[in-house]
Amino acid sequence: MLASAQAELLKRSLALLAREQLIPAEPIAHSYSTPRRLAVLIRNVLAQQPDITEETTGPAVKIAFKDGAPTPAAEAFARKSGVAVSDLKTISTPKGDYLAATTLKRGHTAAEVLAAELPKEIAAIYWAKNMYWRPGKPERFVRPVLWLVCVLGEEIVPLTFAGKTAGRATYGHRRTVRDRLAAQLSRTAGRRVRPGRRRSPPPEDPQSAR
């Protein structure tokens, strides 16, 4: 069960990054699991999606201009493309001359994309039998999600899932690893996880100590 979830998390993370043009064609990726943790490590993630220049075709020139003045059709196309009418150009096609606009689509940062899209991938992992745990039943998972870690380079990506916001701290086996582990997912250090120096208690639940 854990092995397939581990593989699925990796597959989904890679597919997301590929779809969003955030990794090279042959990324270096690993996945890990323990009874309480699923993890993936993907190297060479780009900081930002490339900017994309797009050319869109608009109305025919003979509709767009009447007596040299732009018609509502030309204005609407310019507005839709986010450019001035004067920036529109004319292209020739077999069907005649048409207006065209060149637009620049700015790429999002990897952190933005991950924060927006990764929670959906986590939610979509297949479990033979999963469960609700939070009041109002907002999401399901195999067991309650207690913490999340998401680090891009040295920076935390504060994505949220199941009411938890990702940080840097993860937790090992309750007895054998008493210290909190700081997940140092660093590209340069080449170390996946190394024990933190600070001794800190496990996550506290404000409701629990009743």
Binding site: Y132, V142, R175, P203, E204, S208, R210
Partner: protein
């Protein structure tokens, strides 16, 4: 192996119960007394089965003697009982730290977690007759199951929101472990604080095991049991039918709604369940009959759960 001195210090059966009850009371649980009707598990007590329904939060703990007629061994098997004792804890909704709390409770009863192997093994519980299921773990202590840990998802065929966390300790198993014994009957139940005289589990309970095993397997009168089953079932069905007329939105008689004996109907359904177990132990239910009888009991228990939820809805709205 614990030394003799250490062994003496381990909790008696009754101290084990006190300690766990105190632990959970200190964590906000209401301590309830055992339910005074035959049940096969703590889950079947209305303090679990009915309280997990509906929106009202509850933290409750109680010991529940649990009768399983087919499990009796005339007191001759050191590890099997007709009637064992569960400590049942219901946390609705469960706190996020519920697993940690459970581990702390093990420390409270003297289990050194650094010296023993504790595993939470995936184990998804279900009780089809009650339309109930949940996911969770069986907790293994050095390879022996000591607790069932469940996040209830459905009960009486209804989705739960909020869900409940259920912790069911097998007290005999834990006492046997703490006292390092091969037989349940050797468990020290109590120790006289003045004389130090020890009373064992066998001295307290062996005669029950002998006699109820004999009753369940050899003496229980099968035609009478079938009659009991039919009588309990008929009365329960009659109450369910009357509930359909009483527990409705249009009923302006608030007292009639409040006083409608859903709990009485539930006891009749539990009686059917126990009678079924006795018939089963007597070998009186054929394979073909079995499914049908279980469906009849399910109909009662799920029916009661539905009217309980309805009564709760009507009386909290009023």
């Amino acid at each position: 192996m614990p030394s003799v001195v250490e062994k003496k210090k381990s909790l008696t059966f009754q101290e084990l119960l006190f300690t766990l009850q105190r632990f959970w009371a200190e964590h906000g649980c209401v301590l309830q007394q055992p339910y005074d009707l035959e049940v096969g598990a703590g889950t079947m007590s209305p303090d679990t089965f009915l309280r997990v329904l509906g929106p009202k939060p509850i933290s409750i703990a109680y010991a529940q003697p649990s009768r399983r007629p087919a499990d009796g061994r005339y007191g001759e098997n050191p590890n099997r009982l007709f009637r064992h004792t569960q400590l049942q804890v219901i946390l609705k909704p469960p706190p996020e730290r519920v697993q940690e709390l459970y581990l702390e409770s093990l420390v409270a009863i003297g289990i050194d977690l650094s010296q023993h192997d504790i595993k939470f093994e995936e184990d998804n519980w279900e009780w089809p007759v009650g339309g109930a299921w949940g996911v969770g773990w069986q907790v293994m202590l050095d390879g022996q199951e000591i607790t069932q840990f469940t996040y209830f998802q459905q009960c009486g065929g209804m989705d739960l929101d909020p869900i409940s966390g259920e912790i069911t300790y097998g007290l005999e198993r834990i006492a046997q472990f703490l006292q390092d014994l091969d037989s349940i009957y050797d468990i020290v139940w109590s120790r006289d604080p003045v004389t130090g005289h020890e009373l064992t589990y066998g001295e307290v309970r062996l005669h029950e095991e002998q006699q109820f095993s004999a009753y369940s397997f050899d003496y229980a009168d099968v035609p009478s049991l079938w009659k009991h089953l039919e009588l309990y079932e008929a009365e329960c069905l009659a109450l369910l039918a009357r509930a359909k007329e009483t527990l409705i939105e249009e009923n302006t008689d608030v007292l009639a709604v409040l006083r409608f004996p859903v709990l009485g109907a539930y006891e009749l359904a539990l009686k059917c369940s126990h009678t079924f177990n006795l018939l089963d132990a007597r070998g009186a239910i054929s394979v073909t009959e079995r499914v049908g009888v279980m469906a009849r009991i399910r109909n009662l228990i799920v029916g009661v759960a539905k009217i309980y939820a309805e009564q709760g809805r009507l009386t909290t709205a009023a």
